[in-house]
Structures are given as structure tokens and as C-alpha cells.
Symmetry: C2
Subunit: 231 residues, 2 copies
């Protein structure tokens, strides 16, 4: 069986968990506390980052970028028929739009919101850092940034059926993965962004999302609406 | 003619400038002070980031990820025959290795070194920020991070002809783009890393590198070796 090394609230890991579920690839999930820089994990991925996908009878793929593109290329290779098209559908210009948005969510939204929230609210606790109380200036800046991103997601969801166009794509999985992490720590102002909420409710109800909604961090439960499909 | 909007020391822009030169795509270069958030530029790329490639009779491509993959796909499309193979050569597993390293240089090296140096040494000056003197704690941390990355580049260059394998690839352009920016601000300890230096000397002498070596920031010249091919 394929093996996916991940961390439960890592948005990059979550985007790949959604992708493999949607593609119907059965994977054993192995969690890695990547911040401990354990030698066996560094031997697998010298970057020390999750996700890592070890394909049965195939290569070791490190990072959401290499994994998502490899799975996308299965569309034209022997391994998976056309199912990889699910991640990067359409012609070259449409795939470029998927990638523009993947970059937006995995680099810009991650840098301006998600990573900061994970550092302040989750990793500090897991690493037993003495400074375990979130910095209020950081939280204020992150919340302002998040409203800008929610507005953009709402704009895209208003203009299109899915974020990158008429077809679901890895852009939706990348965005939903980021938002699901932000939602776990109770920071998404859903009521202010009804169109973005409606898009998220659609993707949240897909079977591939169930694993994400079952995740818990000991001592830091999510808000009650986190795993409610009618939130 | 195609039009590439960039900023001269932005490593993402530089990776695409190298790629289009190597592919022989003639592009008009237009510089954008992206930190000013000018409306015409935001209309082109709502993320407010460079590079942006406007293809003649083609789509507008935003960001190094979407641009590099689009140019790579020209390998199998009508537009450019096999020349796109230059960016992501080989079979699926080899392309995954290219992408692992592109991610390493454009996300990890950028975050841990290049972006910090640009903020401290270049953008503060260009934005006439009052805090224009580099933070010595930041510089110390960045220099330690850079030695780790230089060691990894040296390891790769020792094991392989080019960073991702026997063929040159976008991983080399991404790494060289980052290092050229770091070198402009005089921070690369070349003498400690002779194998990495030898790889960089090879890529620096390619014709596509000339434009990068001619760039200057008014009032902040590079060190003398910056544009010396026998540095």
C-alpha cells in the first residue's frame, strides 16, 4: 500500500490527503512530528517537511508540489488512466489558472494567515514552548489578512462553480485544506462570507473530507461547528 | 512580443528570466515596484506579486509556479516542440525530483534566507523605510541558515552533473536565481563551498545569465565579484 507521512493539522498534508482520497488511492497514514527533526524522517525527506508520499513500487515524493504534480501527471501516464485530470483539469491555460490559485493558497494564504496561527496556537503547545500564549498583535494582523483572503475566495466562488473554473481542481483542495486548519483553531468568520461558506460546505461534504474532520489535537478541541456539515 | 513583468532582484522573477532565455523566448521586460500595490498591476495579478508573463496571443500567467509549469508543458503541446523539456526533463519520477528541489529553493531557501535579506538590505531602502539599518540578529540567523543550504547545494552538485540529475532543469534556474540575489547583497560565502561555487560558475557563464549580472540597485552596488565569471 502507498504510505503518506503527514501531520494532522498541516495544510499541505491536508491538501494531499484530500487529493489521494478523491483519486481513490488507498494510503496508509503515518503521522510525523516533523519539528523534532528525527533522523529517520530526515533520511526520507532532507527538507524535514511533510507531506511525503511513498508510492508502492514507485518513487518517494516530497512536498505537496511534487506530489500533486506527480498525481496530476498520472492523467497522461500508464498508472491511473485519466483520473489525474481531477487535479489539473482542462487545457494549458486552465491548468495555469489552477496553479495560480494553488500558489495563492499554499504560499500567500499560508504565509499571511495559516502558518502564523499554527505557530501561535498549535505548535507552541505541541513543542511545550514557554511562550504558549498567542501574541495579540500577531492575531490581529492575521485576522485582517484572513478577511482579505475570505473576500477573494467568495469572489471566486461567486464567479465560478469551483474556485479555478467549472471543474473541481487541486486549487479547491489546497484552499479547503488551508481553511480547514484555520477553522480547527476557530478563526474563520464564516457568517461574514456566505458565498465562501457555501463553497466550503460543498467541499466539506465530500467523502474525502471525513478524515480531516475527525482529527483532534489533545487539549485543543476544535469549535463545535468544525465537523458539522450543516454549520 | 511576450511581456514579462518582474522586479530586478526578485528571485522568482529571476528564475523565470533564466527560463525564458534558455527557451529562446523573446520577452519585453517591464519592471514593477510591486510593493506600491498599483491598481493597474493588481488588475493584472490580484496577488500583487511578480513575475507575471503575458504571452502574445496567449494567457496571462501569474507567479513562477504557473509560468514554469506552463512553459514546461510546451514540451508536449503545439507551441514549442520539445524545448519545454528543458525545464522538467525526464520521466515522472525525475520530474518529481526537479519539483522537490524547486520547492526547496523557492520556498525553504527563500523563506529562511533570501526574503529576509531582501527585506533587511533592499526593500527597506527602496521603500524609504525609517528602519533602514539591517537587524544584526536577523542577519546572524540568516547566515547560519545559508551555510546549511550551501552545504546541501554542494552535496547535490557533488553527486550529480546538475542539481536534480544529469540534465539541467528548472531546479538549477530556481537555485541560481536565489543565489544570484543573495550574491548581489554580498552574503554568499563562496570560498567555504567550492563544489557549490563550481556549479554556480557553470550556470553563471550561460548566456541567459547576462541580464541578471547587469542589474543594479541605485546606491547599493553588488560586490566586485558579482558579475565576474571567473570569481
Amino acid at each position: 500500500m502507498h504510505k503518506l507521512t503527514h501531520f494532522r493539522l498541516c495544510p499541505f498534508s491536508r491538501s494531499i490527503r484530500l487529493a489521494v482520497q478523491e483519486l481513490g488511492l488507498a494510503c496508509e497514514l503515518v503521522e510525523e512530528p516533523f519539528w523534532e527533526w528525527r533522523q529517520p524522517f530526515l533520511a526520507l525527506n532532507p527538507a524535514g517537511e511533510v507531506p511525503v508520499l511513498e508510492l508502492e513500487d514507485g518513487p518517494v515524493l516530497c512536498g505537496a508540489y511534487a506530489i500533486s504534480e506527480y498525481l496530476g501527471e498520472m492523467a497522461t501516464g500508464d498508472e491511473g488512466g485519466r483520473r489525474g485530470m481531477l487535479l489539473f483539469p482542462g487545457r494549458a491555460a486552465e491548468r495555469a489558472e489552477v496553479r495560480r490559485l494553488v500558489d495563492w493558497f499554499q504560499r500567500k494564504l499560508d504565509r499571511e494567515v495559516t502558518r502564523e496561527l499554527l505557530v501561535e496556537k498549535v505548535y507552541a503547545r505541541l513543542q511545550h514552548s514557554p511562550a504558549a500564549s498567542p501574541n495579540s498583535d500577531t492575531l490581529r494582523a492575521v485576522r485582517a489578512n484572513l478577511r482579505y483572503h475570505m473576500g477573494y475566495i467568495g469572489y471566486l466562488a461567486h464567479e465560478r462553480r469551483w474556485l479555478a473554473g467549472e471543474e473541481i481542481s487541486f486549487a479547491d483542495f489546497a484552499a479547503a485544506a488551508q481553511l480547514s486548519t484555520i477553522d480547527y483553531v476557530g478563526e474563520v468568520p464564516w457568517e461574514e462570507f456566505p458565498v465562501a461558506k457555501s463553497w466550503y460546505a460543498r467541499i466539506k461534504s465530500r467523502p474525502g473530507f471525513r478524515g480531516l474532520l475527525a482529527d483532534r489535537i489533545p487539549g485543543a478541541p476544535p469549535p463545535p461547528h468544525y465537523d458539522d456539515l450543516d454549520f
